[in-house]
Point group: C2
Chain length 288, copies 2
């Protein structure tokens, strides 16, 4: 019998799992329709599954009084949330608690007199939400996306630095170090979430223990490809798939242990489908 081991940290992070669960639970007491403000995750299969339950992604145009709106894990600016409430919508806040911590951090640092540097992508929904909280607490600050951006921050004596939760650690380190050299005082609250690095560490741990590694996730998903690269360096028998259909029986000949990991936008049920398919393949090969 083949043994299938799923990496300790794989697929959806805590915040996305929580948001999906809140979306499902919101259906119970919903009077009108149920929407997520934007797709809850960049995974069409999962978005379709939620649609089939009655949770629809929307940009807000069709909202009617009494409808339910789920704020996804990225969060939104507080004025936007107020606007939804003023329209008579039932608002379910599924903002990731780690993102809420960034909102709190920028306001705490503002109160302490710091100019805020938010290390992140200027157009990322999480960053747009955090900047809204910064405005709401009358803070001053900027987004640093490349090293060229930091000039503005160096005009201030006291700079407070936080990060988009999915920020690359190396770039954050570089920005913090550079600003600390140039301004009088820097306070850093590291708001990077470790979901990505935990996922990578789990692959490093699992890959050497198995005969074959299967990495599940979009072919153009950066974080999935990284998991694939890390795994393949340790275990050359690593395969990258998007769905169970791509599994090939050839990969499992003589295999006793299979390891599985998945990128950030892969729901658990897709991981389960892959596990089931592998079991089927391996039990089939036993009788052939």
């Amino acid at each position: 019998m083949v043994e299938i081991l799923v990496a300790e940290h794989a697929g959806f992070c805590f915040g996305v799992k929580r948001a999906v669960k809140l979306a499902e639970e919101s259906l119970k007491e919903a009077r009108g329709k149920v929407y997520t403000l934007g797709p809850i995750i960049h995974n069409p299969q999962e978005v379709n599954r939620l649609k089939s339950l009655g949770v629809f992604p929307s940009d807000g145009q069709e909202f009617m009084e009494g409808d339910t709106v789920i704020i996804r894990s990225h969060g939104i600016p507080p004025e936007k949330e107020e606007e939804l409430k003023r329209k008579g919508l039932r608002v379910i806040d599924a903002t990731c608690p780690y993102v809420k911590a960034v909102h709190e951090a920028v306001c705490q640092l503002t109160k302490e007199g710091y100019f805020i540097v938010l290390v992140g992508e200027k157009n990322h929904p999480e960053v747009i939400g955090t900047l809204g909280y910064l405005r709401a607490c009358n803070g001053k600050g900027m987004v640093v996306e490349t090293m060229e951006d930091i000039g503005e921050a160096l005009k201030y004596e006291k700079v407070g630095i936080v990060a988009q939760t999915t920020q690359n650690e190396e770039f954050f380190k570089e920005v913090v170090g550079e600003i600390a050299l140039w301004v009088k005082e820097v306070k850093v609250i590291n708001t990077i979430c470790n979901a990505t690095s935990l996922r990578q560490e789990s692959v490093k741990k699992l890959a050497p223990q198995v005969d074959v590694m299967i990495i599940i996730g979009g072919k153009n998903s950066g974080n999935t490809r990284r998991l694939y690269q890390i795994s393949r360096e340790i275990n050359p028998r690593t395969y990258h798939i998007e769905t169970a259909d791509e599994l090939s029986p050839d990969w499992f000949k003589g295999v006793k242990r299979v390891g599985i990991s998945a990128g950030a936008s892969t729901p658990d049920w897709i991981i389960e489908e892959v596990k089931d398919k592998i079991k089927e393949i391996c039990s089939g090969s036993l009788v052939s």
Copy 2:
């Protein structure tokens, strides 16, 4: 007539100049002997000049009640200063104000609940002095001299980082960035003095404007050698000397403009001697 330009920032830094001046002034009201606790600068000619005025370097063994003791620019631990005062010595505190700022920073950060990381050399007199101030304000902390040292600091949630004033900026940056990745909150007060970088910037500005550059300072002085390298990259006709005696008439043939810079332990009067000698050489070559 040859034109001699001295770099805007060259030789002794502000703190050392101030300490030498305080040492000279202390002679006026001295009753007993006048000492510096340790050599005031790593330059034997300058130490000898002060000796000839009546200021002697000492490790403290021969101090007698009523003698004057000058605390050099590095500073000393406060308990050591108290001890000197208890012995009935007249204490002149020539600690560099930038070093005093480090003493204040570690105590301010301690009051705010931070574990202190002092980026510097463990056996450097300035670091030993600062650690004394940290103890005196009941702070907890450590010195980070290499990246291997930072492990201890990562056990704390709040880490406050300061630097030895002569700390290398690249290493400081690296330490700040790395610690900021691992702990919850970091506050950095950049206490690095810019004397070294100003000296280097001044050489970069001066070297392309002159026919010949003369860099004065110990052949084994790291900061002087760096000035020499920077200058030579811009102006190949750069020479490194310790004293005016090493100047060669060959270097100045057909030369109209000479630039001069000097390392951190070179007093102004040695720079003046070099200027005079160059003038002598160049005026001599005019008549030969």
